[in-house]
Symmetry: C2
Subunit: 114 residues, 2 copies
C-alpha cells in the first residue's frame, strides 16, 4: 500500500510537466530514439535528458542503449495506475450517489451522523 | 491550449501527494469542514492547510467560509481533466494498434518513412 502510494506520487509528479506529457504522447505512437524525441523540443539536450530521466525514474518509460543510440518506449502499465486511482475515486462517488438515490426514493433510512 | 496544459500541470502537481489524494478521497463521500478533514491527518494544522491551499489553487476543491467554519467540497470537473488526458493517450495507442492490424491483415500498404 505504501509502495502503491509512492508509485502514484511519482507518476503524478512525472505527468505534471508539459514536456514529459509530450514525450508520453509521442511514445504512444511507438518507440523512438532520444535523438528523435529531442528534435521537436525547444530545449537544450541536457535539460531534455533530465525530463527523460524523471520519466524513467518513475517507471513511465523504459530506455535501452544499443551502441551510441538510446531508444525509449512507453511503459503503459505504469500509466494504468492513474486509471486505477481514478476508478477508485469514481467508485466512492457512485457509492455516495447510490446512497443518496436510495435515500430519496425511501428505500434506506437516513443514517445517524457519527 | 496553453491554459489546458497549465491546468493539467496543476492538477497532476496537486495529485502527487498522498495527503492531498486522501482529502480528495474523503471529499468524494461529500463535503466536509477543514476541522473534520484535519482530524484524520497526523500533521500540524498549518501544514495541512498548505495542502488544502494547493488543492484549491489548482481547482480540485472549493472552500467556503461560514462564520468561523470553512467547508470544502470536491470539484469533480477538474479531476475530469485527467480522464480526458488519459483518453487522448488511449486514442493514440489504439490508432497505432488499428494501423498495425490493418497492416498485418494486408488492408493498408506500409507507409514510406518520412
Amino acid at each position: 500500500m505504501a509502495q502503491y502510494s509512492a508509485q502514484l506520487d511519482g507518476v503524478f509528479t512525472a505527468l505534471s510537466d508539459p514536456t514529459r506529457r509530450a514525450v508520453i504522447g509521442r511514445l504512444g505512437r511507438g518507440p523512438a530514439t532520444v535523438g528523435e524525441l529531442a528534435r521537436d523540443v525547444p530545449m537544450t539536450l541536457p535539460s531534455f535528458m533530465k525530463h527523460l530521466r524523471v520519466l524513467e525514474q518513475h517507471g513511465l518509460i523504459r530506455t535501452r542503449k544499443s551502441g551510441r543510440v538510446r531508444s525509449c518506449e512507453l511503459a503503459r502499465e505504469r500509466l494504468a495506475l492513474v486509471d486505477g486511482w481514478l476508478a477508485e475515486q469514481r467508485a466512492v462517488w457512485e457509492g455516495r450517489t447510490d446512497r443518496l438515490e436510495r435515500l430519496v426514493s425511501g428505500l434506506e433510512p437516513p443514517k445517524e451522523p457519527r
